[in-house]
């Protein structure tokens, strides 16, 4: 058997095996999750669903303008030295474990609590911490999109009297749209599933519905984490699958919505 054919067979087996593993996990969660929804209903985890929805929406809404603006600055205005420093900073930020970001949020909470006693672990603090966590995804995706913009198109636009801002809005951003969208998807998925950050900055096991930016909140990943550690009967164990299935569905809905928004923006 030639080397090429061997490589083809190995890669085919690997792809099939990985897909089978993913599908079996997904299938398992779907079956168990539907079973749980039918037998338990969703009323127990409704506050966690709303908490997760609000959290993802807030953190990604903060991260998109900050991430895209940072990438624009680095592409159009920053000196090579500054851009290098920014690049290294975002690389480091991307590689920091989420528990460290959570710890940073927690340290901020303690520091602020000294001066503002009413400031406590809250939805706002968790959203800001998550925003920091997902910021590098959006910056890197936007930078990648800009780097893929053909330099010829930029040169033609400049030759027709375009300013930097015209080139940015009429050539670079439309061209980078696909990559920015990918960055947003990643950010959504990351902020929807992260537990380490929110457990230190605002998520609690039982609070009820989100009632303000400065209040604690429930969230699906934290519910899964907490319940799996303390469950005392099969019903509670089953509810973990319910939360997992809903978390997957929420991520899919967010990704679909952001894809629609990107397409609408393009028009």
């Amino acid at each position: 058997m030639s080397g090429d054919r061997l490589l083809l067979h190995i890669s085919r087996v690997v792809v099939v095996a990985i897909t089978a593993i993913y599908l079996s996990i997904l299938f398992h969660i779907i079956i168990k999750g539907i079973d749980a929804i039918v037998s338990l209903g969703v009323s127990d985890i409704t506050p966690a669903i709303w908490g997760s929805l609000t959290l993802v929406l807030l953190s990604v809404t903060m991260a998109i303008p900050l991430g895209v603006s940072s990438a624009i600055y680095m592409e159009l205005y920053g000196s090579p030295k500054i851009v290098e420093i920014f690049d290294i900073s975002f690389e480091i930020l991307a590689s920091i474990p989420s528990i460290v970001i959570g710890l940073f949020g927690f340290a901020t909470l303690i520091a602020l609590h000294r001066y503002i006693p009413s400031f406590r672990a809250s939805l706002l603090l968790a959203s800001i911490s998550l925003c920091i966590l997902v910021l590098p995804y959006i910056v890197k995706a936007t930078r990648l999109g800009f780097s893929e913009t053909p330099s010829d198109h930029k040169a033609v636009a400049y030759s027709l009297g375009a300013t930097k801002e015209d080139v940015l809005f009429r050539i670079m951003l439309p061209s980078a749209r696909g990559q920015i969208k990918k960055g947003i998807f990643l950010a959504i998925a990351r902020s929807a599933e992260d537990t380490a950050v929110i457990m230190l900055t605002g998520a609690v096991a039982s609070y009820g519905f989100v009632d303000g930016l400065l209040s604690p909140f429930e969230a699906l990943p934290f519910y899964i984490y907490y319940t799996s550690a303390v469950y005392s009967d099969p019903g509670e164990l089953l509810s973990i699958y319910e939360a997992a299935l809903i978390l997957i569905c929420l991520s899919a809905i967010f990704i679909r919505l952001s894809s629609g928004i990107s397409r609408g923006g393009a028009k």
Partner: protein, 223 residues
């Protein structure tokens, strides 16, 4: 009109051209020739300051003064985007912007924030392209033939009503028929405008140019 006085330029510490003096008048086509890499395109780009967006190590000494109905003075004293609206540039290869035929032509007006009824049609007619694209205005410009794309590039410049047009080997990637159309267009446009043409093709220069400037090697090229 363009007046170049004691112009020297290059990249980094290396001169490409030294002490160039020339005057380019309205109603004439002046061809710029010279061996590859001698700085012909750089010369054109130094007139509309397009080199500034491509390379940061470009340097220029001497003066390049332009005089049009709206602008007058050394190009370094004019805002680059204002300057480029008066000094059109046609690239070596046709480069349609990733948008429709109509939006390609209206791009320059859009960025300048001005509108003029029928401007797109007038520009396409002046570029001898209207008859071929009048039913394809919403089509992606990249679907036009190379010759059509290059005439579209000329229409993009004409819509700005530029009085100076810099042609950087505009027919090097075109077939003989498209080349002939571009040459006829250049001759027609030269009646009202100042035109500079970079070309290696001596036959083409013979067909269209009123004057020729040959750029030569500099004897001492280190700054």
């Amino acid at each position: 009109m363009i007046k170049v006085s004691n112009l020297s330029y290059g990249y980094g510490r290396k001169y490409l051209v030294r002490d160039l003096n020339a005057t380019f008048r309205r109603g004439e086509i002046t061809a710029i020739t010279g061996r590859s890499g001698i700085g012909k395109s750089t010369f054109l780009k130094s007139i509309n300051r397009l080199h500034e967006v491509e390379r940061s190590d470009f340097f220029r000494e001497g003066r390049i003064e332009i005089e049009t109905s709206t602008l007058s003075g050394d190009v370094s004293s004019i805002e680059p985007h204002i300057l480029r609206r008066s000094v059109g540039y046609i690239f070596q290869s046709p480069i349609p912007l990733p948008m429709s035929v109509e939006k390609n032509v209206s791009f320059a007006m859009d960025v300048a924030g001005c509108t003029r009824e029928g401007a797109v049609r007038d520009a396409l007619q002046s570029a001898h392209l209207w008859a071929e694209v009048k039913d394809r205005l919403d089509e992606d410009a990249s679907r036009l033939s190379l010759g059509q794309q290059q005439r579209l590039a000329i229409a993009r410049v004409l819509v700005m009503e530029s009085e100076i047009i810099l042609f950087d080997e505009p027919t090097s990637s075109l077939d003989p028929n498209s080349t002939r159309m571009i040459e006829e267009l250049m001759v027609e446009l030269s009646k009202e405008k100042t035109i500079l043409l970079v070309s290696h093709d001596m036959e083409q220069i013979g067909r269209v140019a009123d004057d020729v400037i040959a750029l030569e090697e500099v004897s001492s090229n280190i700054r």
